[in-house]
Structure formats: structure tokens, C-alpha cells
């Protein structure tokens, strides 16, 4: 996995990198300088809490923001970390510094064990499942007799046992972890991880289609996020000194991790820090003001939360982005910095070379993909029955059939998006029947979707580049930029390279999907109704591009229901009706077959011809 080209595309890479990393470091220096001056107990505690929640928020942001998996159970990791170190200390007298290591490992393991199955769930189901994990731990630790755990006091050696009377030490240690998290986030935003995570967040199906193992990407994010949250939990427990399962595993912890992100801005490096700077002082001030009446502080906090969501539903940073920068010059700079300083790319001068050499590993005519008796049933409905198809190298095949004939199902089976209920699939003789979509994509099978699936918020250039980011035909870092521009120029989208994909028109999005597939230099390209919504000249242009790719060695399979158009452009025509292959051969012959005419026009027309 390489993305050197991304970096190379930026002017003054070193300078911009230095600038990006220096911000957190400067912020840390300022934080230490300020905290050093504080002598008041409550103020220094506030500083420690701000650093703690901002860091917890940043760990949540990795899985909840960047990977887009809304976790409602972040407390599971904070609490587990805190309790593992606490139990080690209480039962075995192990110092919390050693416990810190044990807790981090324990939280990482927990994230791995819990995440591996849970991250297969999508959307709301993932959120609901995460809700249960801290609750299970809370009940268990209560049952094991840690309702109110008092950490053994060691006033003689505060440094060895993390038991400082001065909150500034806690502030310093949380601050250090916070800066580490921040720097790590900046690193992430400048590496190819940003693209992998964004692709997963925007559209998991499209991410698998470009060869990303979405589950593994999410699992990495979950484990890293969980382990650091566990580390933070250890120190938090030491600072609180008296620990209850409610304070460590309670829904309040998970909610706070979420709230600081939502207030600041989900998916921005600085979002959780901004959110914490607002939310935590408010909640602490409320506690000081109304602490005597139980519930009053929480009541007002709930009201503040509602007002904040109603006024800035997408967080402060998004709100800031909406202000017109032309009136405030400094604001423009700030906005650019907050949006991760994405530099615009410029297309290379027209070279005339628009061909994208395909990856021809087989000689012309050899069997590339072979479906043997493929079948798919949804409950009682049979979508595809005993389907045999040999796709040979360098072929241009059209698969046609009336609506509902089973074309898209066939495509989903050929690309691993669905598992067949019967039959086998061979790629270059190797059985790939049960291969995941990302694996097939990595072995050179790329597809487009009937309803296009661009990564909406990424630019056109980034969308295309993602096509070549991972896979067996992975493009070398040095030629990444060139590999991305060629298909983009070929489909004529180079002038829109810096526009977000969601701003494109329907036909441009279709072309972008084709370009994204071509960047990886696939061996086999499967196009699901690529001509739908294109006007006559666009159809002509796309067909020319595809023909050009075919002469370069690409094998193409195209699905459509317009038999007339497809018959004119392909070399071999396959007709499906009711899930059964009814014809396979040269277009001229196939279109004359009575069975095909019957399928398309009904039997009346067949008789009329006689």
C-alpha cells in the first residue's frame, strides 16, 4: 500500500509537513506553560480533565469519526484499562506504571476480540452492540466486588504510584498522551490511511470494490482507539482515587467521548479538543454551581447539549467552514488548515497518450474467469440458475437480458459481493467461489455499480487515485500520479479533478467510476449498465475508450438491457432470461435466435416473422 504520489503531488512537502506537525507541539508547549502557573486545586484539576477528555475524544474520533463507526461503548476500554491496573495493584501490589502496560494490552485485546465480530455489523447494529459491552463489564466488576474500589495509598512515593497531590502532574501526563494522539491523527491525515478510512466511511461496498479490506481497516482503527483509551483509563482511575464501576463503565463516559466530538466536529483532528474546551468547563462550572442539589448540574448539562445540537448540529468546525471566507482573510487560512490543507492538483499537459496499459498476464483467448453451474436463490426466489460462462482474455462481452433477468446478481457473484448458493467460480484456474470482494478486486477484477457509488466527499482526483491504492496491480508510488491522471484524462474529467465527487452530474459520476476502475490497471473490467443516463455522444466516447483499453489487453464484460446498443459494440453476446443463460455467441447470430427474440419481444413477434 503506497501513497507516495499523494505526497509528491503537494508543493513544498517538507515545509507543509513541518507546519502540520508543529501545531500540536506548539499547543503542548503553551498548555504546559499555562498549567505550570496554576496553583489552584480546582483549576489544575480542570486542566487535567480537559486534557483527559480531549485525548479520550481523539481516540473515539479514530473509530467514530474517521472510520465512521458510531461507537456508543467507548467506556468499555476506558473502564477496562482503569480496572485492570487497579485490580493488579490491589490484589498483587503491582505498580500502576506496570499496570499501564498491562491495561493497554488488555484493552487492545478486548478491542480485537469484541471488534472482530462486531465490526462485521453495519450502521445502527454496530452502535447498538457497542452499547452492551461496557454494561456487561460494569455488571461483572460489580459482581466481583469492586463496587467502590479504593486505590492503595502510597503517599511516600507519588511518582512510583502515580499518586500526586498536585493535579498538574496529571495534567502533564494527560497532556502528553493528548499530544501523542493529536500527532498520530495528523500523521494519519497525511498518510494513505486517510484515504482507506474515508473510503470505508463513505461507502463500504465501493471500498471493497477498489480492493480495501474494510473489516481489517476498521479493526485496526478499533484496536488502536481502544488500547489508547485503556491507557488513559489507568491514569484517570489513579487521579479519581475512589473508583466505582459507574464512573468508569457508565454510559456517561461513552456519552462524554461522543459529545466532545459532536460539539467540536466529528472527523477533524482538532474537533475533540475544541469540543472539550467548551463542554468540560461548562460541566465543571455547573457542578460547582449546582453540585449541592443532586441532579441539577446534569439537568442543565442536558439542556446545554440540546441547545448546542440545535444551533450547531454538525459541530463547531463545520459551522466555521460555512462562513464566507472572502470577508475575513484570516478565516480563509484557518478554514484551509482545518480541512487538512488539501492541496489542489493540476492536470499534466495534454500528452495525447491516454491509453492505460492493462495487466495482461495471460495470452489472448485463455480462460480468465470461469463460472461453473453458478446459482443464486433468495429464499424461494431463484435469481440465477445453473449458469456457465467462460470469460477469455481480451474478450469484450456484453451480457443482456430484460429487467430482473439476473444480470446484477450475476455481476455480484462474479465479483464476490454475493456468495452463490451453488456452483463454482475459477479465476485463472484457481477456485475463488468464496473469495471476498476485496480479494477479487486485488487480483485484478474491477467493477462499476448500476447505481454509481462514488466516495462523495472526496475529490474526483482522490476517487480515481483510490482505485490504485491497494491491490496486486498496485501502482508504484512514483507513478501513482501519472497512473491516476491517465484514466481521468481518458474519460475527460481532468478539469474537474479538484471538485468533490458528490458535485458531479450523473453521467460524469459514471465516467468517474470507470476511471477509478481503470487506475488499478485491471485484467477484467465488469461494467454494470455504464451506458444508462449517457447521451449519444457520451456513449460513443465511452465505447471508444473501452475499445482502446481492450486493444491494450483489457478484458471487458458489460451488462445492459438495451440489446440493440450492446450488440453493436461487443464481440460476444450473452443473453439471460429468468436467471437462465439462453444464448451465447457472436452478436449477429444471437440477435437472430428465436429464443432471444421471444425473450425480448414476446412469442407473438416470433410467429409474425414466419
Amino acid at each position: 500500500m503506497a501513497a507516495g504520489g499523494v505526497r509528491a503531488a503537494r508543493p513544498c512537502a517538507l515545509q507543509s509537513r513541518l507546519r502540520a506537525y508543529s501545531v500540536p507541539v506548539i499547543a503542548f508547549v503553551i498548555f504546559v506553560a499555562i498549567v505550570g502557573q496554576i496553583t489552584d486545586f480546582y483549576l489544575s484539576r480542570l486542566a487535567a480533565l480537559i486534557a483527559f477528555w480531549a485525548a479520550v475524544g481523539m481516540t473515539w474520533n479514530l473509530i467514530g469519526g474517521y472510520a465512521g463507526q458510531l461507537s456508543l461503548g467507548h467506556a468499555a476500554f476506558v473502564g477496562l484499562g482503569g480496572y485492570v491496573a487497579l485490580v493488579l495493584q490491589q490484589e498483587f501490589g503491582i505498580m500502576p506504571w506496570v499496570g499501564l502496560l498491562a491495561s493497554t494490552v488488555a484493552a487492545a485485546l478486548a478491542a480485537l476480540i469484541v471488534g472482530a465480530p462486531t465490526l462485521r455489523l453495519s450502521g445502527i447494529y454496530f452502535s447498538l452492540a457497542t452499547l452492551a459491552y461496557p454494561l456487561i463489564l460494569q455488571v461483572l466488576f460489580t459482581y466481583w466486588g469492586y463496587q467502590e474500589a479504593l486505590i492503595p495509598a502510597h503517599p511516600e512515593s507519588p511518582f512510583l504510584f502515580m499518586q500526586w497531590r498536585d493535579n498538574r502532574w496529571y495534567a502533564a501526563i494527560f497532556g502528553t498522551i493528548l499530544i501523542f494522539c493529536w500527532l498520530a491523527t495528523v500523521f494519519l491525515e497525511r498518510s494513505h490511511w486517510r484515504y482507506l478510512l474515508t473510503a470505508v466511511r463513505e461507502d463500504e461496498a465501493a471500498a471493497s470494490a477498489v480492493g480495501i479490506n474494510t473489516w481489517l481497516v476498521k479493526l485496526w482503527a478499533f484496536v488502536i482507539s481502544g488500547s489508547i483509551a485503556g491507557m488513559l483509563g489507568v491514569i484517570y482511575a489513579q487521579m479519581l482515587f475512589v473508583v466505582t464501576p459507574e464512573t468508569m463503565f457508565g454510559i456517561g463516559v461513552s456519552v462524554q467521548a461522543l459529545v466532545v466530538n459532536l460539539v467540536g466536529g466529528v472527523g477533524y483532528a482538532i474537533g475533540p479538543l475544541l469540543g472539550t474546551l467548551i463542554a468540560v468547563p461548562i460541566s465543571q462550572a455547573l457542578e460547582a454551581q449546582f453540585g449541592s442539589i443532586s441532579g441539577a448540574a446534569q439537568l442543565v448539562y442536558g439542556l446545554v447539549l440540546i441547545v448546542v445540537v440545535l444551533t450547531i448540529p454538525r459541530g463547531l468546525i463545520d459551522e466555521l467552514q460555512r462562513i464566507d471566507p472572502s470577508r475575513h482573510p484570516t478565516l480563509g487560512k484557518l478554514q484551509a488548515w482545518l480541512t487538512r490543507g488539501t492541496t489542489d492538483v493540476t492536470p499534466p499537459p495534454a500528452s495525447g497518450v491516454v491509453a492505460v496499459a492493462a495487466n495482461a498476464s495471460l495470452a489472448k483467448g485463455e480462460v480468465l474467469l470461469n463460472a461453473e453451474g453458478l446459482g443464486k436463490a433468495y429464499g424461494g426466489v431463484i435469481a440465477l440458475r445453473d449458469f456457465n460462462l467462460e470469460i477469455r482474455q481480451h474478450e469484450f462481452i456484453g451480457i443482456v437480458g430484460p429487467n430482473g433477468a439476473g444480470k446484477t446478481t450475476l455481476f455480484d457473484l462474479l465479483t464476490g459481493f454475493q456468495r452463490p448458493t451453488s456452483g463454482r467460480l475459477y479465476l485463472r484456474g484457481e477456485n475463488v467461489t468464496r473469495s471476498a470482494p476485496y480479494r477479487l478486486a486485488r487480483s485484478g477484477i474491477r467493477r462499476t455499480f448500476q447505481i454509481p457509488r462514488p466516495f462523495g466527499r472526496l475529490s474526483v482526483y482522490e476517487n480515481a487515485m483510490l482505485g490504485g491504492l491497494v491491490g496486486a496491480t498496485e501502482v508504484a508510488a512514483s507513478s501513482m500520479d501519472e497512473a491516476t491522471w491517465r484514466p481521468l484524462c481518458a474519460v475527460g474529467l481532468e478539469h474537474l479533478a479538484n471538485k468533490p465527487a458528490e458535485s458531479l452530474g450523473p453521467s460524469q459520476i459514471r465516467l468517474l467510476e470507470v476511471a477509478r476502475a481503470l487506475v488499478s490497471r485491471p485484467t477484467l473490467l465488469l461494467l454494470d449498465e455504464p451506458l444508462a443516463g449517457l447521451d449519444a455522444s457520451e456513449v460513443h466516447e465511452l465505447i471508444n475508450i473501452l475499445r482502446g483499453q481492450q486493444t491494450e489487453g483489457l478484458t471487458i464484460v458489460l451488462v445492459d438491457h438495451a440489446i440493440g446498443t450492446v450488440a453493436k459494440i461487443v464481440e460476444r453476446l450473452v443473453v439471460i432470461d429468468n436467471g437462465i443463460l439462453i444464448a451465447d455467441g457472436a452478436p449477429v447470430e444471437v440477435t437472430r435466435m428465436p429464443r432471444v427474440i421471444e425473450a425480448y419481444l414476446g412469442s407473438r413477434w416470433d410467429h409474425a416473422r414466419d
Binding site: T118, L121, I136, V255, G295, L305, L310
Partner: protein
């Protein structure tokens, strides 16, 4: 373990399930129609419990007679919150909606804490502590009445959803809001109405539950996972599924009480919850139809 103990647990579980059905039906209806996970659902129940406590002890009215009026009050509260909060953030902005319901939950829970304090407030009626004893079984009359009342309301809800045009509009909106708008259904009004029905059902559940469990500000925390489990079991958005799910939850809770120490009963529920999600996220009964 004697047969009677097991039977006792099964009967107890079914009674619980009947009452959970009200809560789960409301929650799943709100999700099905609005696509909002309402974290405040248990708090609406809790408010219903306190409202019953005030009216039953203050005016001496029997809680069972209060069920519908208090359901109506909670529906009004639901209308205010749906109109004033949930419909004001962009539809489909799940983060904002989630935080809003969490905020409402915080406000309601702590408002009751400020007003009534943390001490549980029981509503004691003659039937609270009397038992019906067929075949050596002990059946708490309060729970029995609550379960029966709940079943009556569930039948009414079913008739409302299937036999009235408003109910059909609600199901149509759950199925496809765009198409529903296309055939002239006021989607926004239907959303508000679904939220009202959901909160109203929670209020009714509160009046029934308070006859055998004391009202306390934090009581919602004990119910929220139970509700989620029931609606996930039934397949999110399916009222019939949620009803079945509620009975399964009641039975799991009651039977695990025979096998596990009291404190671990909920762990059993949470573990079942996670396992169901992992194995069959579409729900246990495969009831595909929404609402």
C-alpha cells in the same frame, strides 16, 4: 429444581414480557418510522411512573384508570419534543438525533431527581402485594393486571396500524418516506405522530409498572437495554417482532434468575443481546415487514 419452580419462572417471564411489549412496541415504532434510536424511551416510562405516583397518591385514583390519561400526557410531551427538537435537525443526521434523545434523557432523569430526590416512590394498591395461586403458582395480581392491560393496548395498537388510514400512512412512511410523500402523506406529521404514539405507550407502561415497582429517577437505566434487546430480537422497526422479542426477553430474564446469581441476571441479557446482533442482526424472527 422442581417443575413448579420452572413453571413459576415461565409464568413470571411471560408476565414481564407482556409489559415489556408496550415499551418495545413504542421504541420500534419510532425507529421504524423516523429512523431515530430514542434513548429517552425509558425516561418517558419513568416520567409516566412519577405522574402516576403524584395522581394516585394525591387524588387517590387507581393507577389502572390513569393509564390512558397519562399515556395522553406523555404523547403531548412527545409531540412537543418531536416538533421542537427532532424535526428541527436535518432528517438522516443520526448523530444529531442521537445526541438530542440523549439530552432529553439526561434532562428528564435529572429533573425528576431534582423534584423527587433519589428515594424510590412506591404506589401501593391492594393488588400490589396480593397473589393469585392457581396450581401452586404465585402470580402477583399487579403484574397480572398490568400484563392484561398491556395486551389490550397492544391489540388496539395493532388495529390502529392495520385498520385506520392514519396507521396505514404510518406504515407507508416507515416503508419509504419518499414514496409516502408522493402519494400525499404528510411525512412530517406522520413522524410526529409516530413519536407521540411511542412516548404515549411508554407513559402507559409507566403507570402499569409503578403498581409493582417503585418510581425512581434512575429506573430507566434498568429498562433501556431490555427494550433494545426486544426490538433487535424482533428485527428493528417491526412492531409484531418487538412484541415477540419482549416475551423472549421476559423469559430469558426470568429463567436466568433460576440459574444465575441475582446480580448477573442482566449480564445474561446483555450477552444474549450481543449474540443475537452478531448472528442474526436482522432479528430472530425474520419479520421483514416494517412496523
Amino acid at each position: 429444581m422442581s417443575l413448579t419452580t420452572i413453571l413459576q419462572a415461565i409464568v413470571g417471564g411471560l408476565l414481564l414480557g407482556g409489559i415489556y411489549a408496550l415499551l418495545a412496541a413504542g421504541l420500534t415504532l419510532i425507529f421504524g418510522v423516523m429512523r431515530v434510536i430514542n434513548f429517552a424511551q425509558a425516561e418517558f416510562m419513568m416520567v409516566g411512573m412519577f405522574a402516576t405516583y403524584v395522581l394516585a397518591t394525591g387524588l387517590g385514583i387507581d393507577p389502572l384508570l390513569l393509564a390512558l390519561p397519562i399515556g395522553g400526557i406523555l404523547a403531548l410531551l412527545g409531540m412537543v419534543l418531536a416538533q421542537g427538537l427532532l424535526e428541527r435537525v436535518p432528517r438522516g443526521d443520526h448523530n444529531a438525533q442521537l445526541i438530542l434523545t440523549l439530552g432529553v434523557s439526561l434532562v428528564l432523569q435529572n429533573l425528576m431527581l431534582v423534584v423527587f430526590g433519589p428515594t424510590p416512590r412506591p404506589v401501593v394498591r391492594p393488588y400490589t402485594n396480593s397473589y393469585w395461586t392457581p396450581f401452586d403458582l404465585f402470580i402477583n395480581e399487579a403484574r397480572l393486571f398490568a400484563c392484561l392491560a398491556s395486551l389490550v393496548i397492544m391489540v388496539a395498537l395493532y388495529l390502529f396500524l392495520t385498520r385506520t388510514w392514519t396507521g396505514r400512512a404510518m406504515r407507508a412512511t416507515a416503508d419509504d418516506p419518499v414514496a409516502a410523500g408522493g402519494v400525499g402523506i404528510n411525512v412530517r406529521r406522520t413522524h410526529v405522530l409516530a413519536f407521540m404514539v411511542g412516548t404515549g405507550l411508554a407513559g402507559v407502561a409507566g403507570t402499569l409498572i409503578v403498581t409493582f415497582t417503585a418510581a425512581a429517577p434512575s429506573i430507566g437505566n434498568d429498562f433501556i437495554i431490555i427494550m433494545f434487546l426486544a426490538i433487535v430480537l424482533g428485527g428493528l422497526g417491526s412492531v409484531a417482532g418487538a412484541t415477540l422479542g419482549a416475551f423472549v426477553v421476559g423469559l430469558v430474564q426470568s429463567i436466568s434468575g433460576l440459574l444465575l446469581p441475582l446480580q448477573l441476571q442482566n449480564v445474561m441479557l446483555f450477552v444474549v443481546f450481543v449474540l443475537i446482533l452478531l448472528v442474526r442482526p436482522q432479528g430472530l424472527f425474520g419479520l421483514r415487514q416494517r412496523v
